[in-house]
């Protein structure tokens, strides 16, 4: 191993003596070199004495060493590398690592993947929206059945009976839901079909009692309304059964839109109440009642007490909260 390699390998000081020796060998004075290299005498002396810290920043010191070494026909790279080792800098040069040659078709591969990813993302969003909509729709269907949808039953002799809605006042429900649900008593609706056939009450009653509507109660879970199951224009029956005087009771002379909600926001009735229909609605107090056509109401009572809706009607629309004390 040569002395220079040893210096580079484990030098503790800069070998400025090499520069002094080379200068003496070439017979050059500081004055000559200063004129030639434009470097101050102090700089040249500092290099020869190995006192490089006096020369300023590393960028300048490297330049001085390189210039001086080149003039003295020494290897500048070797002395600069030695200086870098003393400084603790391993390599000041940047090794440019090429990322690859430029292809002749610089179309990006990521573009197709990006498109595919975007497509999958949009598909997922659409799927989520559809799923959410379907979920909401089915919940709405369960929560808000059509209160005023009548049940049509074909009898054995070809006649048609129209019965009140199935969901209101289901006495056969076995679970606790029955107690939570509002008990709605609705009068049997006299349909125009029945009326057009001029069927009297006795004939209808006979049909009901004689099992002319087989499976009406079993198949649908709905028992024939009322004790005799007679569909009547005048007679009012309570579908909820046994409501008593408590709750809201109202009768309508003509068709009117009606909405009744209890304190939990549950809809007790929401839809068109037919003229001649009587309703007994019961729910958690207070009840929010909106009557679309106040003049159509012939009777309205709450807890057995008549309610005056003339004062709460605006443009024939009555909005009231019952009992009135909780308004």
């Amino acid at each position: 191993m040569s002395s220079e390699e040893e210096n580079i390998g484990g030098a503790q000081s800069f070998p400025g003596g090499d520069f002094a020796d080379a200068r003496h060998a070439l017979g050059l004075s500081f004055e000559q070199l200063t004129r030639e290299l434009r470097l101050p005498v102090r700089t040249l002396e500092s290099i020869e004495n190995g006192q490089l810290e006096k020369l300023g920043g590393p960028v300048f010191v490297r330049g001085y060493i390189r210039t001086y070494a080149r003039r003295l026909k020494l290897d500048p790279d070797r002395y600069v590398a030695l200086y870098d080792r003393l400084l603790g800098t391993t390599d000041t040069r940047s090794t440019v690592r090429m990322v690859g040659t430029v292809s002749t078709s610089p179309a990006r591969q990521s573009r197709s993947l990006m498109r595919f990813g975007t497509f999958v993302f949009l598909l997922a969003i659409v799927g989520t929206v559809v799923w959410w909509w379907q979920t909401q729709y089915s919940i709405d269907a369960v929560i808000a059945p059509e209160h005023d949808a009548p049940v049509t039953v074909d009898t054995a002799d070809g006649n048609t009976l129209v019965l009140p809605p199935l969901d209101d006042g289901l006495p056969s429900q076995e679970d606790d839901l029955n107690s939570a649900l509002p008990e709605v008593a609705s009068s049997a609706q006299a349909t125009e079909d029945v009326e057009s056939r001029d069927m009297d009450q006795e004939e209808v009653a006979a049909l009901q009692e004689g099992g002319a509507t087989p499976g009406a109660g079993e198949d649908t879970g709905v028992e024939a309304a009322g004790a005799d199951g007679v569909v009547s224009d005048s007679e009012t029956e309570s579908f909820a059964g046994g409501l008593g005087a408590e709750g809201l009771s109202l009768s309508l002379a003509e068709d009117s839109w009606l909405s009744v909600k209890d304190a939990n926001g549950r809809s007790l009735f929401n839809g068109i109440a037919k003229g001649g229909q009587s309703l007994d609605l019961k729910g958690a107090e207070p009840l929010a009642v909106v009557i679309g056509r106040a003049s159509a109401v012939s009777r309205i009572e709450y807890a057995g007490e008549p309610v005056d809706i003339s004062g709460v009607s605006n443009k024939n629309v009555a909005r009231l909260t019952l009992p009135a004390s909780q308004r």
């Binding site: 290299l37 434009r38 470097l39 101050p40 700089t43 300023g56 920043g57 590393p58 960028v59 300048f60 490297r62 330049g63 001085y64 390189r66 210039t67 600069v80 000041t92 040069r93 940047s94 090794t95 440019v96 690592r97 090429m98 990322v99 690859g100 040659t101 430029v102 292809s103 002749t104 078709s105 610089p106 990006r108 591969q109 990521s110 573009r111 993947l113 990006m114 990813g117």
Partner: protein, 345 residues
Amino acid sequence: MFKKIRGLFSSDLSIDLGTANTLIYVRDRDIVLNEPSVVAIRVNGNQKSVAAVGTDAKRMLGRTPGNITAIRPMKDGVIADFHVTEKMLQYFISKVHDNSFLTPSPRVLVCVPCKSTQVERRAIKESAIGAGAREVYLIEEPMAAAIGAGMPVDEASGSMVVDIGGGTTEIAVISLNGIVYAESVRVGGDRFDEAIVTYVRRNYGSLIGEATAERIKQEIGTAYPGTEVFEIDVRGRNLAEGIPRSFTLNSNEILEALQEPLSSIVQAVKSALEQCPPELAADIAEHGIVLTGGGALLRNIDRLISEETGLPVIVAEDPLTCVARGGGKALEMLDKHAFELLTYE
């Protein structure tokens, strides 16, 4: 929002968008790309597409058929063709990102000439944004060069840097993280090549291309007469005969050819020294002038400036990458306290 997500998969970049070469420094990874700023455009009817970028495109310069045009979108340090520059940047940015799934959207620091106009800076910024950058910061080239060369820019001491690039030469006196005086002359490596082409045409009656002129400059070019004389054999088209001819050039001839652009640079350096405040001039006289940029690789250019100014002149280590490395260092300090180094439109 997508840019932010893509930004998570992108590295911060410092781009030395030079007239001759584009260098990209990736944060924590050093310089990863050094390609010529050349784009080859293929024309099919009314449609234009990129045929090649970088080294391959440069190889096509002067050798293209009618439907391909190899162009250099940067001229004199600023954008000459906005859309082609954008395409070139887009390609380089995607090239330095390993991730091929998401289009990269990095934070980018671009070096701009110190005397570029607001419009030119805005063009560079817009171009980088168009190429997919999430955020774009600008830094003046001499400041980046000084940082990259390792000069003590933050000290209360004058430092003079001369960055000889492909299109421009930037001269700046820096102290306390700021540029005290800056000058930019539109003379650089390209002007050297043009001067060689002109010299050969005038003295040999032959036409040579830019690529040949650049090779001559790199192999035997010198800025100051030395003891050694180098020679090179070149081939060009003889203008009188119209056929290719071979002839020999030597380094003294190239020195003669380069006299005009070199004197412009020397004049600019002298002018900067004249304009410099006396305290800073004293610092510069003590430490010397630092040369960076590809032009600093021209043989004996430090000697020329030293002789002309009477000051010590130092060529920075790895001068070609100083600007990109300096930009990279500024980028690494960006989140801390380097905002004073940056420039604004």
